[in-house]
């Protein structure tokens, strides 16, 4: 059991749709509908999908910011969503997407970073200051920023403050929800580099949620692709990129713009082929509710949501 730090089993998050005269529940929005994820200790798992696919909902459910309709979330083999209070919030932390809105503009950097520590430990102020300085140093911010406010920093620096706050309690699992999508490429490089450094230094496990496949490929060992609340394909990064099997994954990968100008004609052609195949066969990959089928293993560590009977085009 202890092989995986985090195990999500058949997670479901449904929201009721209310309506009618008595405001009764008519139906459910199945935002996450049967997602299973396992992350070994010290590894990074990339959760990819378009907006509305349920990737952020999954991340929030893991950290307890969303209710869980059904399924199990196991952290170190211990069930988190029991209703009973299992206090692991010091071990699981989140890095948010937008460095502009996730920091309280009326608090100083010291208070922002010290808040999680204050929640768990009673410490004299000088000790606290020392600890915060250590954290700032770790994320590459100088000591002078201790008593500044968030607006005095650039986007990349703010994201570092967010990371300093996330690692303040020496967490073991970090959920990073699109940590770089609001940043310029140059700043993105900065944040990605130092997230990798911190991960290595602290032996962190990460659930990395993103829609940019280039970034995910750079950061993650293992990738899961989501569509309409379910995983359609899962496997090691190189397998997903070099041998995608689900038509949706193929389409996502074909849609990445390439900076190699020699490949452009070939890419456009490939994208067109995939688009035609997608339009022709995509419905065969969905069940009658328009949801992807359950995952089946096609090799040792590669799972794809193929139709139950399979079809001649599927393995083409």
């Amino acid at each position: 059991m202890s092989e995986f730090l985090l195990e999500v089993k058949d997670l479901k998050v449904h929201y009721p749709i209310k309506g009618g005269f008595f405001n009764t529940t008519k139906d459910y929005v199945r935002a996450v509908d049967g997602v299973s994820i396992r992350i070994p200790k010290g590894k990074t798992y990339g959760l990819v999908g378009e907006s509305g696919s349920g990737k952020t909902t999954t991340g929030k459910a893991v950290i307890g910011l969303n209710h869980v309709t059904d399924g199990e979330i196991l952290y170190k083999g211990e069930k988190l969503n029991t209703g009973k209070k299992v206090d692991v919030s010091s071990e699981i932390q989140m890095i948010f997407q937008d460095p502009y809105s996730s920091l309280n503009p009326r608090k100083r950097v010291f208070d922002i970073v010290a808040e999680p520590i204050r929640n768990y430990h009673r410490k004299p102020k000088d000790e606290l200051i020392e600890e915060v300085l250590g954290l700032l140093n770790k994320v590459g911010l100088p000591a002078g920023s201790l008593y500044k406010y968030p607006h005095e920093f650039s986007g990349g620096q703010r994201q570092r403050i967010g990371v300093a706050r996330a690692i303040a309690l020496n967490p073991e699992l970090i959920i990073a929800d699109e940590p770089v999508s609001a940043l310029d490429v140059s700043v993105q490089a900065q944040v990605l580099n130092f997230m990798q450094e911190i991960q290595q230094d602290m032996g962190l496990t990460m659930l990395f949620i993103a829609h940019d496949l280039g970034v995910v490929r750079h950061m993650c060992e293992w990738i899961g692709i989501m569509y309409h609340g379910r995983l359609v394909e899962e496997g090691p990064a190189e397998v997903i990129f070099n041998n995608p099997q689900h038509i949706y994954t193929k389409r996502l990968i074909a849609a990445i713009p390439d900076t190699n100008v020699d490949n452009i004609e070939r890419n456009l052609q490939r994208r067109e082929e995939v688009r035609i195949e997608y339009e022709k066969h995509f419905h065969e990959y969905l069940d009658e509710d328009g949801k992807p089928f359950p995952l089946v293993s096609i090799s040792e560590n590669h799972k794809v949501a193929l139709p139950p009977k399979g079809g001649e085009h599927v393995n083409a």
Binding site: E50, S51, G140, P142, G144, S145, K148, E152, F153, S154, D184, V185, S186, Q188, A189, Q190, L192, N193, Q196, H211, D212, L213, G214, V215, R217, H218, M219, A237, R251, L252, A254, A255, I256, P257, D258, T259, N260, V261, I264, N267, L268, R271
Partner: protein, 348 residues
Amino acid sequence: MSDKLLQVEGLTTSFKIDGEYYPAVEDVTFDIGHNEVLALVGESGSGKSVTAFSLMKLHKKARVEGSVKFEGKNILDAKESEMNKIRGGEFSMIFQDPMTALNPLMRIKHQIIETLDIHETKKKSEREAYAIELLDRVGIPNAQRVGDAYPHELSGGMRQRVVIAIAIANSPKLLIADEPTTALDVTIQAQILDLIRDLKNDLGSGVLMITHDLGVVAEMADRVAVMYAGQIVELATVTELFKNPLHPYTRSLLNSLPSEDMLGGKLHVIQGVVPALNKMDRTGCRFAPRIPWISADEHEHNPQLREVTPGHFVRCTCYKNFFLDSSDKITKLVEEEQFEMIDEGGNN
């Protein structure tokens, strides 16, 4: 040269900060031919959007100098009433954020008919049918129904298509696309880019594409202008720029992208930040503070945009002996300086 669709010469747009004018775009010169896509690339704060807004004369309070010739006529001299004819007619713009570019209180089809009315395109009785046809053309399924919808009923990708439908309603000769796909998912991005490419080919229009996504640039552009701190630092054809980038800024940008060759490795980081408008040193090479390991002798005192090989322009001489360096020592050094800068800013 007069066969060019758009010729921009010495465009300088200045904004007033504390009673003084500071140029956000300085001496920008480029041209766009018929059926050509020119991409404008740079970090936020480099002046790309200011350039586009200046071409449309959408900056009311800014001081705009230089000349913008559209088919030989200088539009910077045009009166506001004339500009209203040009905007949305011969010039049109696809705005970055489809969430805010549409009027939330107007049905989609009426927003399209509005531009048709202003420019008196088509007969009055035909306009509604044409609006639906436009929606169909930008790939909106069920155009009739979507025409009756309000913006909040549509997804981001659909809204962006509506914005494009409005932009192409009067068959513009020049289309300015300001980050048209930044807010969208990759698959929808690919569709929107296809759409812009088809429109360009069908109408023979010129396109000015503003983006910070170098992948999009590689796919769409014929020529690329790289902007830094309000100036064009490199201008070349797309193949030349990606195969033989010269300016240190272009090379640093290309190296900061995650790529297949260096999976999981360290990405190149451009040190420091784009300087603020009123704190910028306007003498010498503006990129110099971000490449401190290059000696001052390599830079020109007054950097000029020079043609290095036919069609390939580079500013300053520092590209000649430039090498990428990202050793930790330098990272620390620059970061400390940067903070001193912010310190000063905070105390003022």
